[in-house]
Every structure is written in C-alpha cells, then in structure tokens.
Symmetry: C2
C-alpha cells in the first residue's frame, strides 16, 4: 500500500521523504497519513530493491565534507524512480485482484488512475462495484432479518453504512459509464 503510493508519487516527480508524506496525506485525504516510522524504512526497502534511487543533489556550496553520495551529514534525500521501478509500478497498477477492490487498495488505485490503462480502470471499477453491491445486499438482508431485535443505535449504524454503500455503488456506476463512453469497446 505504502509501496504503491510512494512509487506513484515518485513517478510524477522526484521528491524527498518528508514531502512525500505531506503529498500522501493530501492525496489520500487527511486520514491515512502514514507515519515516518513506516515511510523511511519503506524508502530504504524500495531503494534496496532497485526501484527507486537517490538523486545526487547539485552542489551549490563549494565543498561537501567527506559524506557519501554528495550529502554532507544528513541532508535531504531526493528519490526518483528507476527504469525497473517504473516497470514494477506499471505491473502493480495492472493487478486486478481483490487487493484492488478492498477499502485500502481501491483508493490508492483510483489515485493513480490517470497512469493506469483504461481497460484495467474499467475492471477495477467494476470489481469494486460488485464488491460494494454485495456488501450493500448483505447489509440489507441482515437489516431485514434483525431490524426488530436491534437497538436504535445499532440500527442507525447499519442504516448509515447501507446508505454509504449504496451511494458508492451509484458513484461507481457513473464513473463506469463515463469510462465506457470515453473509450467505447472495439467494434
């Protein structure tokens, strides 16, 4: 999750960790803000895997002290995607399994839809819609079956959840529709 988000942002432009975290927070909507305690280890892991790389900073100050990679002690580390990283990111975006439909995964995929193939976009939207439809139906059934036995708070909770699920289904249907008209099927 963090991995795909980091790769996606770095695919748009090189960035350092601190900035990455801010972009992440605003992209994924204030909630889901990832702490540094997971971000920095992830950056290291991605670098070791060869998917991202540190940009050597262009030296304005004449002589950096002995430090490796051009950094004196502990300056900004600006990361960018490598060729393999771009490839890997493309592979991740092309996955259409359940991990692309669930609550955490779907938001992240959608955030990078502009970089996703249009047939994959459609598959993900339809998968998500199916999942949300099933969830809504399950809640409807359970509500119908146990409505009388529930206290008003449980009822409110379930009804709000159901309405949210229904709203999302409608929203997805609109997205699917405009996706289809924008790129009509061959023939």
């Amino acid at each position: 999750m963090l991995e795909i988000a980091v790769l996606g942002l770095l695919n748009e432009s090189p960035m350092h960790g601190y900035e990455l975290r801010k972009r992440l927070a605003s992209l994924l909507g204030a909630f889901r803000a990832f702490s540094y305690g997971s971000l920095y280890p992830t950056l290291r892991r991605l670098q070791e895997a060869g998917w991202i790389d540190e940009e050597a900073p262009l030296e304005q100050t004449p002589a950096p002290s002995v430090g490796f990679a051009g950094r004196s002690k502990r300056g900004k580390r600006v990361y960018k995607l490598t060729a393999e990283g771009k490839e890997h990111f493309a592979t991740l975006l092309a996955e259409v399994g359940p991990e692309a439909y669930d609550d955490e995964g779907f938001g992240t995929r959608l955030a990078f839809f502009a970089q996703t193939r249009s047939d994959i976009r459609l598959q993900i939207l339809e998968g998500r819609r199916q999942r949300m439809t099933e969830q809504a139906d399950g809640m409807r059934t359970s509500l119908a079956r146990t409505r009388e036995r529930m206290d008003r708070y449980t009822l409110q909770l379930q009804e709000h959840g159901l309405e949210s699920a229904d709203r999302e289904v409608r929203w997805l249907s609109e997205l699917i529709e405009s996706e289809r008209t924008a790129r009509p099927p061959l023939g």
Copy 2:
C-alpha cells in the same frame, strides 16, 4: 478493538468463539470480520486477564472422558463475562479520547451505545463530529487550492470523500440532536 467488541457481545449473552465471529461480522457490517487467528488468542488473553470465563457445559452425555473443565477433547468453549470483565468493559466504554473518534473505534463504540452512559454518548458523538468536520474542511481547502492541477480521477476521489464526510457530519448532528432532546441537560 477486538477486545471491546468481544466484551460487548459477551455482555449481552454468553457465546463460543465461532458464534462470536459471526455476530461480530454482522454487527460491524460484513467488512471488519476478524479472523480466527486473532479471535482465539484474544479470548485466551481475556480469560487470563480474568475478564471472561468458560462456562462449564451442562452434561447431557453421561460420562465425558478425562478432559478438564468438563470438555472431553475439544468441544465448544462457551465464554461469559466475569464481574471484573463487566467493570472493565464499563471503563472502556467510558473512555472519550481520540480512540473513540477514529474510524475503527467509533463504529465499535456506537455498536454498544445502548450499554453506554448517555453523557458519554453525547461526548463521543460530538468528538466524532468535530473530527469529521475538521476532515471535511481540510479536504475542502485542499480541493480549492489544487483543483486545477488534479486529474479527473483524483478529483472524483476527493469529491466523493468530501461528500461522504459532509454526510456523516449531518448524520451525527441528527444523532446529537435526538440525544439531546431525549435527555435534556439539567435545569
């Protein structure tokens, strides 16, 4: 989270693990279904803490083999809340900090609102509303600032998120209102 949910359900009636999991799934809405890999260890932990206890099953079959606590080999283990467990659960429900407002925590608290003191209910609802209001405002600001630079998918994502947040705020306001009229402040 699992702890409070387990205690809450067992406070309503004694139950075994398997049943607990099904009730959990329907209570928290199909999503958030907790696997056995976390449920059973939690039950053990709660039992070791003295908050829940195994009910000795009433023997219908004449002689169980040597097993301890009345179970022959591995039968159902029906758990119930102890007195300390009830006390502990009440303490958990009375917490009004951030853990009661965030996404995971709030749903669980609301599910057991019928067992929660009405002044605490009000505090939790107001805390949640404040949090969601702040979140919505943050998203509105960020949308206003970066709307032009965003692709249509990111825009859709943010707008849907904003609408959901706004809807929840309105819903919370209704709950707060009815909570207040049902139990008007002293005087």
